[in-house]
Structure formats: C-alpha cells, structure tokens
C-alpha cells in the first residue's frame, strides 16, 4: 500500500426536501490507499451510501474535492463522468441489480458494449470474468434462474469485466444467507489480493468488516475513529 488512490477534502453534501435542507455529509476529509479493502460502517442513515456514490462518481457533492487516481471527479461534466466511471469503477449493489431480460453472459457483457472491443474480444473478457466468479456453467441463465449468491457473483463479474481499478460495493452481502455471504466476501478478498483491486465496501455486518484491511466509521455525517458501540 503506497500513495492514496482516493483523496477526499472538505466534502459537503446535503439533500433538499422541499424548503428543508438535510445535511448528510459534513466536512469530511480522508484518504484511501491504493490496494486497500476498506469497510465503511455506520448506523442506518449515517450517509454511507451517499459517500460511496460520491466516491464512485454517480452523484455530485455540494462542495469539496474528490480526487480519484489524480483526477478531481467533482469537476467533471456529466458525460465525462460517465466515461470515467465506465473505465475506472466497478459497481456491486445489495440487490444485485442485474437486467432481468439479459442472460448472465449478456449482463456481464453490458459494460463492454461501450468499448471498442470486437465481439470476439468481448466474449473472451466476459468468459474470463465469469471464470473468476466461477459461474462458467451458468452463462445462459437469466437472473430469475439463479440463486441470490449466484446473481451477486454475476454482478461481481460485471463489475470487474472492464478491469477497473476501484470496486465499490454497497452492502453486497446484505441480502444473502450466511453461506453465500461468506462466498461473496471470499471472492472480494480474492479480487483485492490476487488482482490488486481497491475495494470500498459499505456494510452493516461486523463479520464482513473483518475481511477488510481497514475500517472507517461514519456517524451522522462525520467520520469516527473507533466504533462508539458494536451494534451496527
């Protein structure tokens, strides 16, 4: 672990509900090292998802800087940000978020449709990704024909198929049973270790957090050094 891949300075984010302004993140600054596997924890409503979305470039802050891989992404236009995301970030969600009318193979292929890769090249990338998540035998299954754990593995394959340097995961095991959750965490550790992906994972589960290299606590929009209590 060397220079930081993510550098956040004085980040502010609030939501507006009617005339009311709800502050969510209040002046947050921190750094994430390249190759880290970071668990972001905190009570419900503390702003974890909001922070993750900002780091991944799917939302804009009110103020502050978010420098990822040397680029201040808060200054990018929407189109630039789209392209940046496609190249640099892989997403894993709690509810897998696969496209139901596409097969496992096609779901994983989706991000590559934006690349200049040929059909054959795409196929080999998709197969490599599905190989990593050990789902080569389910290529032509639709999401509805897969278990939760399998669907999440497809989602992981989709997240890594374009070989991004950062993977963000919002409660990736939140909807899974114990065994599947262990499976998914094992897979993510593996991506971190063997493929040196930087992973930022929001989780409520202390057992999941144990897999991480470092842990960050968020409470009421500010960072805390240590858990106030262990009742997440």
């Amino acid at each position: 672990m060397s220079e930081p891949i993510v550098l956040v300075k004085n980040l502010l984010k609030s939501y507006r509900r009617g005339s009311e302004i709800i502050p969510v993140l209040e002046d947050i600054s921190f750094a994430i090292d390249r190759g880290d596997f970071l668990a972001l924890m905190g009570p419900s409503g503390s702003g974890k998802s909001t922070l993750l979305n900002l780091l991944a470039g799917i939302d804009y802050p009110d103020s502050g800087e978010i420098i990822v891989g040397g680029i201040d992404i808060s200054a990018l236009s929407e189109t630039q940000l789209s392209m940046w995301r496609a190249l640099n970030v892989g997403f894993i969600f709690q509810f897998y978020n696969l496209i139901p009318v596409l097969t496992a193979f096609e779901n994983v292929e989706l991000p590559l449709l934006l690349s200049p890769l040929s059909r054959k090249q795409r196929r080999s990338h998709v197969e490599a990704a599905l190989e990593i998540v050990n789902l080569m035998d389910r290529l032509n299954h639709y999401p509805s024909e897969l278990s939760g754990g399998q669907q999440q593995r497809v989602a992981i394959a989709r997240a890594i198929v374009s070989d991004p340097s950062i993977i963000v995961a919002d409660e990736p095991t939140g909807d899974l049973d114990r065994a599947s959750a262990v499976d998914i965490l094992e897979l993510m550790s593996n991506l971190n270790r063997e493929f040196s992906k930087t992973i930022i994972m929001v989780t409520h589960d202390p057992r999941a957090a144990k897999r991480a290299r470092s842990i960050m606590y968020l409470d009421k929009g500010t960072l805390k050094d240590a858990p106030a209590e262990s009742a997440f």
Partner: protein, 385 residues
Amino acid sequence: MHLLNLLFRNVLRHKLRSALTIAAVAVAILAFGILRTVVGAWYVGVEASSANRLVTRNAISLIFYLPISYKEKMQTIPGVKNVSYGNWFGGIYIDEKNFFPNFAIEPKGYLELYPELVLKEEDKKAFIKDRKGFIAGKKLVERFGWNIGDTVTLKGTIFQGNWDFILRGIYRGRDKSTDETTFLFHWDYLNERVRKNMPALADHAGYFVIGIKDPSMAAEISRAVDMTFKNSLAETLTETERAFNLSFVAMTEAIVIAIELVSYVVIFIIMAVAANTMAMTARERRAEYAIFKTLGFRGIHIASMIYGESFLITMLGCAIGVAVSYPVANAFSSELGAYFPVFNISGETIFMDVVASVVVALAAGFFPTLRAVKTNIAQGLRSKT
C-alpha cells in the same frame, strides 16, 4: 448481444400490455386510413375532372334544361374544340338500392370528350350504331354480371316507363380515379320517347360538355359562352368540370370535414394510449436505467432504448393496420360501391399512416425519455422495482 436485441426483449417483457398497445395502434391506423380513404373517395369526381372540359347548365338550376340547338352556337365560340351534351336519366335497375349513375348522351362527341373511358374499337362502333345500345363501366358490369348483348331494363323516374337497353361495350378507366360504375346510352333514344310523351322537354339537354383547346382560357371561354346566351329564354351557367363536380361535393362538405376531424381525433387518442404504455414502462424501469447509467451509458443510450421501444411498438401496429386496411377497403368497396365508385387506399394515405405513426411514437416516448435522462443516478437506484 446488441442493444437492438434488448429492445425486442423489452417489448416482450409485458406481452399482454405490448400486444394490446400494438393492437390499439393497428386499429387506430386502420380507422385513420379508411376514414381518409372515404374523404378521398368523396372527392374522386373532382379529382377525375379534366381541366380541358367545361360544363354548361341552365343558369337557374340543374333541373331546368337547355335547347340542343345551343350546340351549334357554342361551337363557333373561339377556343372551343368540340361540344357534346347529355341528360341525367336517373333510372333504377330492379331496385333502388342498386343505384348507379346513368346518363343519356350523344355518343360520338361524348366519347371524344372523355378519352379516359377506354373502349375496344369494335365495341365503340357497335355502341354508336345501335340506337338502343349502352356502355357501362367494368365495375358496374361485374357487379350485376352482365354480358355483351344482354338486355338491361331501367325503370325511369324522371322519364316514366320501362326502358330496355342492350349492352354493347364495357369501358375501363384510364386513370385510377376514373369512375367505372357509370351507365351511358343514346340521347336520341331518350329524345324519341320524350317527344311523344313530354313534348315540351323534347330536343333539350340537361347539360353541355365543352372541350377547350387551352385550359388557361377556361374562364374567358366560360364567360363568352354565357354571354352568347344572355337574355335568351334559357340563360346558361358555364364553369370548369372541376368546379361543377365540386359544387356537388360542397353540399356534403360538412360531413367530409367531420370525418376528417374524427380521423385526427383517432390519432390523438392513440397517442395518449401509447404514451401511457411508455410512461408505465419507463416508470417500472427507472432503477434499470440508473444501472445502465452507472455502467457508463449516457442519456443518448437511454433515449434510444425508450424511443426504440416506442417506435417498435407503434411501427408494428402501423404495419398491421396498413396490411389489414387493404382487405377492409375491398370489403368496403364491394358493400358501398354504389356510393363510392372509386375506393382505393392511395399511396398518400399509406404515407399519412406512417407519418401519423411516427408522430405517435415520438410523442409517446418524449416525456418518459425526458424523465429518465434527467433522473439523477443515485435517485434512480433508490427506486426499487
């Protein structure tokens, strides 16, 4: 995998909803096409009229006649090529519901003036030779199954009694708009009996048809004709054939306008139906669009997905509607041939069908697309399906 593939699968996602929308579009396009064809059929007489012909009638009303001696005088007017005349006969064949237009005409001159009535040379000769002969359009002959040489009896309404005619020729229309349901017989044959029974009406024609050399002279020649008979016993009113035919249509113009209006209302309604389908679809897929955006797809991609689906549904409906409109128009034509001698789906109607469908597709996709493109990703992801 291609995004086009995704379009098809998305359409198949809610099979019933898509099928119902496609069916609704098809029915609307069918109705639109048929209504427009009705409007077109209404004006067909106007369309078929030639710029080279003027029609002269009694200035007071069509029900008053003009002496045929006018023909000679007309012929001397500069710019006039040839003159012929005829009477609306108004005969009934067996039953009133068998209506078709029938005229007593002066054969030689009349056929010269109407080159769009295409007749075999020998049939033409046979018709001109036989005082009791008649010619009829192909559609009319087919409708009643007449053959050359058959005797056909019409019951007179204006001119009382039963009148026997012998079929001597069957004409075809040179143009698509030519009426193939008319029945034409010798004016002399009519005049003979009129002389006996209603001597006051003898040697009178209902109207004159004047062939002119130069269509741009129509107004001048018309004025010259009417001036010639000014202050005579029967003053004339001369106008172009087009204006003459239009004056019949004008009487029913309000109905035609109403029909035209309804045809647009149909399109408007289907717009609402299609827009509703697309809005429902896009609302359900909000989270999905957010995922696409997360993966790097941009507004243009989302827009093409929604518009693609909107176009796929409406164009499928349009294709079905257009395909069905041909047999429906045929059925219409054979049922109502008496009222609409020419009832063809024109190329223009098909074009309008397609234009209407494109407008529907564009309108239906507009708001859902706008919303989907504008929705912020984080927001979209929060909306669980």
